[in-house]
Structure formats: structure tokens, C-alpha cells
């Protein structure tokens, strides 16, 4: 039997009119829950982005012998230029190394007295294009054996720790997001169930006069979808607000840490669309299950 659109529209409108409070309560539940869920996703995105940035900033240092020939330097520069896994490098000559030394040990003049630029090794500060510890280690090894190279130092342990920590943070935030989503689902399902519980007698009467299950369900599902969409849509400005608040911290130079958590507005939009979609899905499925309990008449 065909169910007319007019019927679904009238019933849905009726449901909304007769249950304004519960309708609003469901929207608020969806709104708050999805804002929390979306925020967790954005924080996770921010953490991953920040880790990427820190990892991108990692460099290894190729120290040359103080007496390395110009040909040896040229060979190293050539190798650095050709390697696609290297973004770029800075050359620190002996005078530059001496300047750094002075800065570093400014409080220990006895050390500075005994050092001259000639005994310090010049070095190349290399920026790899990748952040993976294993890749960087292999890359560094390529330079270790070259003539004129005194030593290659690389912060593999630092990279490893950073990778592990950022993975931990990322997983942790994801777990929080999932827990928040589960809590949201239960809250929303409960609110919808309360709304439908209030109308269980209507459902019973509908069934007794010969309405099919779909005839009863459909308006409730449309109602759930509308609530989910509105709740999800209301979460969008909250997500932007949150991201902008963090951007505000950056301008104030107030909290350095939060700077890296600000994400691009395209990311906020993607998260918003996801959150709204989840809202609509939760609305439909929540209504479907909630009505189902009362259809057995």
C-alpha cells in the first residue's frame, strides 16, 4: 500500500506541534553531543597536524672534518641536492659554529677561551622531507660513510618518542571521541524514546485501526531526521567557534600549545558535514528503534 507524502508531512507536522518540548529536547541532545564529538575530532586533527609539523622540523646534522677539501664538500652538497627525501639544508661554516659555541657556553668563559673557529667542524643541517624515524636513520647512514664526513648525528630517539607520543595522544583523543559519540547515541536514543513513549497510546490506536508498521514509523523517522539535521547544523557554528577561540589564543600569544591545534576551516567544514550526517543517521535509526518497541500491538 502506498503511503502518501501528504500524510507523512501532516503527521510529522502534527508530531512537531504536539511535542514541542520533547522535540526541542532531542535537538538540544543532538546539538550538545555532536558538538562534543566534533570537537574531539577537531582536537585529534589538530594533534596530528601539530605532530606533522614538529616531525617536519626535525633535522640531522652532517659534521664535516675541519680540514675537509672543497671537492668533498661539493660531493656532499651534490648528494644533498639530488636526494628527493631531503627538503633542504643549511650550511654552518666554522665561524658560524664558533658563534653558536659562544652563545651556547656564554656562562663558561674558560671553555670559550680555549676554542678557536679553526678547530670546530663545519656542518650541514639537513631537513628531511619525511618524519618517519626509520627513513631518516637510513638517510643519515648514506652520508656517514662519505669522504670528509666526521660524524652524522640524528635525533632518532627524539623522533621515535615524538612518534609514539603523538600516536598515543591521537589514539587517546580518538577513544574519547568514540566514547563521547556512544554517550551521544544513547542520550539521543533515550530522548527520542521518551518522546515516542509519550505517544505510545496513539501508536496503539493507529495499529488497532489497521495502520501498517511503516505507516506508523515513517512520520517518526522523518521527525528524527529533522531533529538530527537541526542538531547537527547547530553544532557547526559551535565547532567554528571553538576553532576560532584557539586562533584567538594564537593572536594573544597566550598559550603556545594551542597554536598548533588550530585547523584549517576546510577541516572544520568536513568535520561539520560528518557530524551533521551522523546527526541525521542517529535521528533515523534512533526513531526506528524507539518506535519498534511500541509497534507490537
Amino acid at each position: 500500500m502506498a503511503i502518501s507524502l501528504g500524510y507523512v508531512f501532516r503527521e510529522t507536522r502534527g508530531n512537531l506541534r504536539w511535542n514541542v518540548t520533547l522535540f526541542a529536547a532531542t535537538i538540544v541532545a543532538v546539538w550538545v553531543s555532536l558538538t562534543l564529538f566534533g570537537s574531539s575530532l577537531l582536537i585529534r586533527e589538530g594533534v596530528e597536524q601539530a605532530t606533522g609539523r614538529w616531525q617536519g622540523g626535525i633535522e640531522f646534522i652532517v659534521f664535516m672534518n675541519a680540514d675537509a677539501s672543497e671537492a668533498q664538500h661539493a660531493a656532499i652538497r651534490g648528494a644533498l641536492d639530488e636526494n628527493p627525501e631531503i627538503d633542504g639544508y643549511d650550511y654552518v661554516d666554522q665561524q658560524g659554529a664558533f658563534n653558536e659555541f659562544i652563545t651556547e657556553f656564554a656562562d663558561r668563559p674558560e671553555l670559550i677561551e680555549n676554542v678557536t673557529p679553526e678547530i670546530l667542524p663545519p656542518s650541514y643541517r639537513v631537513k628531511p622531507s619525511v618524519g618517519d624515524a626509520d627513513v631518516i636513520e637510513a638517510l643519515a647512514a648514506q652520508f656517514d660513510a662519505r669522504p670528509g664526513v666526521r660524524q652524522v648525528t640524528l635525533p632518532v630517539e627524539v623522533i621515535r618518542t615524538l612518534q609514539q607520543n603523538s600516536q598515543k595522544v591521537s589514539v587517546f583523543v580518538l577513544i574519547i571521541a568514540i566514547v563521547v559519540l556512544l554517550a551521544a547515541l544513547m542520550l539521543i536514543a533515550n530522548t527520542i524514546r521518551t518522546a515516542i513513549f509519550a505517544r505510545r497510546q496513539d501508536i496503539e490506536v493507529m495499529k488497532l485501526v489497521g495502520a501498517s508498521n511503516w505507516y506508523v514509523r515513517l512520520p517518526f523517522m522523518v521527525e528524527g531526521t529533522i531533529q538530527g539535521l537541526i542538531g547537527g547544523a547547530l553544532a557547526i557554528p559551535m565547532l567554528f567557534l571553538m576553532n576560532n577561540l584557539m586562533a584567538g589564543f594564537v593572536q594573544d600569544d597566550y598559550l603556545e600549545l594551542l597554536r598548533s591545534l588550530v585547523v584549517d576551516s576546510a577541516v572544520v567544514w568536513n568535520t561539520s558535514l560528518l557530524v551533521t550526517g551522523i546527526g541525521a543517521a542517529v535521528g533515523v535509526v534512533g526513531s526506528l528503534f524507539a518506535v519498534g518497541r511500541f509497534l507490537d500491538v
Binding site: 502506498a2 502534527g14 504536539w18 496513539d202 490506536v205 495499529k207 488497532l208 485501526v209 489497521g210 501498517s212
Partner: protein, 225 residues
Amino acid sequence: MIELDQVTKIYKGEVLALYSVSCKISKGEFVFLVGPSGSGKSTFLKLLNRQETADQGAVWIAGKEVGALPRSSVPKLRRLVGCIFQDFKLLPNRTVYENVAFALEVTGRSRQQVRTQVPSLLELVGLSKKTHSYPHELSGGEQQRVSIARAFVNRPPILLADEPTGNLDGDTSNGIMRLLAEINKRGTTVVMATHDQHIVNAARRRVLRLDRGRLTADDAQGRYA
């Protein structure tokens, strides 16, 4: 039209509602179902529109075994079997017109059909002037008339009435009975559970008596006691 064949119904907790009840009700009959509270009258009616299913035996309506119908066919059965209740069960947020129209809409009738049929039904039950009233604005008798209009709007071959006059005073009850008699005269089989001995004794119709789930009497022109 209606046949019960050795029907037994036991609710959870071992409550025996009906025990081995057999009877036949022909097309166009008007049958009273009497007995004290808890004798199984409501269960008898609930088996006829598949609100309950029998634990043993079979219930037949218009040649189909009710208990064996797939769930998807239950709505169709309910359009053959109109129902009225002691507490009317009207939808409180809808007007008289909308309550009656709803029963037609669920069968997929066009709005045009709804527009012509609902007013003629409200005319039959004497509520033409209350079309746009809400249930809470009506007296008990008027609410029961709406409920009858809703049950009859699909012209079902069978009408079940569970204590339809239970909440009404004597005069109002008589009005409701006249209405049910009128519907019966138009060919609908009416099965009515009741406590009201005046009504039963005045009507002199067939009486089925239930006592603790057993069918103890079946009189063609019975009296209450």
C-alpha cells in the same frame, strides 16, 4: 464468519484466560459476551483482531486462521474487524473529523473519498455539528459515538465492542445500543462484551456466557443472569 475451535489462552504467570472455548458466530449476528470480571471476555475479543494469539486451538475469521496470519497481514485483518473500547481510545490531539478520517487514511483511501465518507458517518452517529471539536470537549457518550464512527468508517464486516457502555449512564448507553443495532442491521456482525444486564435483557439477542475462561452457556435469545 467467526469460529473458535477449542481455543485455550494462558497468559504469562499461568493465568488461565480461556479454556477450550468453541463457538461459531454467523454473518450478521448480534452476540453478547457476558461474565464476571476476569472471565475471559476481553481475551475472547483480543483473539479476534490478533491483539493476542491462542496457545491452543484456532480462531477463524472469514475463512482465515487468525493466529496463522503473517504479521504483515494483521493490518488487513484489522480493517475487517472494527473495534470500540470502554475508554474510547480516541487520539486526543485530533478533531472528531481527523479521528474518523485516520481510520480511512490508513487503508490508503484518497482525500476525496475521505472527504465524502467521514461526514456521512458523523451524520449516522449524530455528530455532524461536532466535526471540529477535540475529544476532551465531548461528553463520554459523544466520544463513544466518535469511536463507533471510526470503527465503522471502513464498513467492516465485524465490529467488536469491549464494554462500550461501561463508562456511560443509562440513557447514553441506550443511545449507543441503538447505534450498534443500526450498524448490525446494515449487515455487520457485532460481538459485544458487557456487564450491563439491563442492556442484555432488553435486547434479547444471543448470549455467550464465560466463567473463569470456560464457555458455560450459549442462549439464542438469552438473558444476563
